[in-house]
Amino acid sequence: MKFILKSLPLLLFILPALSVADEAENQIKYRQAVMKAIGGHMGASALIVRGKISHRDQLKAHADGLLAMSRDIPGLFPEGSDFGETEAKEILWERWDDFREVSDKSKTSIENFVKAVETGSEDDVVAAFREVGKGCKGCHEDFRQKHEHNH
């Protein structure tokens, strides 16, 4: 009993910390799920754009999906979601303005891709898709560090 009373203040201190950690963990899980969805649309689009498969009529849906999921990437990285099983690098929060800029550029490239799919020539589609890929790679270059264990 004495022990419990003694450790109560400590517990009171730890519990909110635990729930904060929990929230951070869920934030991380959510953004990884969103990134996976984005990756899914990119993988599917790549097969169509490269002519490996003939679902050209589906391309618009993938492009729209990409755009919807990329509208606010910085919003997926709230302050405090930097510890836990994340591949996001510390500098993402230290260089927040750069991160926002890279993410805006990526969004613009996806908007252009959507337009190209709607009204452009096949060459426009290929070129616009390339630019989208550069956006993904550019941000991962600076702000993500993969772990050796793929999960």
């Binding site: 990756g39 993988g43 599917a44 790549a46 890929g133 941000c139 991962h140 993969k146 050796e148 264990h149």
Partner: protein
């Protein structure tokens, strides 16, 4: 016939742990038709070929500082890029044609000694952070082409920075290291393999993929028994994955086409995109190569022995 058996021995040696061999063996080059064939690296003048090779060999990423906007440097190939390794921080030098700050006064022989033997014009040894361990495979004529091209690169008046290293890594120590772990290998053609394979093997060697993707011993020498099998905690703490065709821990499930597309764009087969150093390799190097060469690299990589690496466990891809 003598050539063939020599070539086989050379290949065996190159891939089966040359680290302990102290003997010095240089310059065995076999001009097989694939390398003699006319438009070599997709272009015909010496300077154009050099430009292509500088891309293929990945000189640009290391010798161009991506974030030096206000230091006066930051120019193309003007150096000043920090390379943080487990052994200390190296700063790449200026290799533009500037006669004072760069290497504008270098002769072809200076280039040959630097790239093949890791020796500076004043006779001192270069640190292997400059991957001459890979560039020793470059053929003479390719080094001359690189030299010709570098002489055309816009001069930048950017001074070199001092490396930041622990005391025991003074330049003299490099001679000892080289005695133990370095042998200017030259490139040898595998006579039992076709032209595409050999071309791919050459491009992967000079693309110095193994400098990141092969694990090192504690002296920083590559463990050639685990060639391209993945290395944890390399420069900047990044881990370079297993790129042998092991099915669950490497890239065994990738097709040749997947690899070509990856080297061209950085896209992984599952829709993810690469990052870190590999983004630079793709941006500055492999995306500049023609499709034929990328395919040759892919064919070669797919033909390597599959090595299991538990550090890069179980991919679902």
């Amino acid at each position: 016939m003598a050539h063939v058996s020599l070539a086989v021995r050379l290949v065996a040696r190159t891939f089966a742990g040359k680290t302990n061999s102290l003997s010095c063996m240089t310059r065995w080059f076999f001009s097989l038709s694939l390398f003699a064939a006319a438009p070599l690296w997709g272009s015909d003048t010496l300077v154009d070929r050099g430009a292509y090779l500088v891309r293929a060999a990945g000189c640009v990423s290391c010798h161009t500082n991506p974030d030096d906007h206000d230091n006066g440097g930051g120019g193309f190939l003007a150096g000043g890029r920090a390379l943080r390794t487990p052994f200390g921080t190296f700063f790449s030098p200026n290799i533009t044609s500037d006669p004072q700050y760069g290497i504008g006064q270098w002769s072809d022989d200076d280039f040959l000694r630097a790239l093949r033997h890791g020796i500076a014009p004043d006779g001192s040894h270069y640190y292997p952070a400059f991957p001459y361990t890979s560039y020793s495979r470059l053929r003479d004529e390719d080094i001359r082409a690189i030299a010709a091209y570098l002489r055309t690169v816009k001069p930048a008046a950017a001074a070199n920075l001092e490396h930041v290293l622990p005391w025991y890594l003074w330049r003299g120590a490099v001679a000892v290291w080289k005695g133990l772990f370095f042998e200017p290998a030259g490139f040898s053609i595998a006579p039992d393999k076709d032209a595409e394979y050999n071309r791919g093997s050459y491009l992967v060697a000079i693309g110095h993929c193994s400098e990141c993707h092969t694990p090192r011993n504690r002296f920083g020498a590559l463990d050639s028994s685990r060639f391209l099998a993945g290395a944890k905690d390399g420069a900047e703490g990044e881990s370079a994955p297993n790129i042998t065709p092991h099915r669950s821990t490497g890239i065994g499930k990738w097709s040749v086409d997947d690899m070509v597309y990856f080297l061209e764009t950085g896209a992984l087969p599952d829709g993810d995109y690469t990052g870190g150093f590999m983004s630079e390799v793709v941006d500055d190097s492999t995306s500049h190569l023609n499709n034929e060469d990328l395919k040759a690299m892919a064919v070669y990589l797919k033909s390597l022995p599959a090595i299991h690496n538990p550090d890069f466990a179980e991919k679902q891809k």
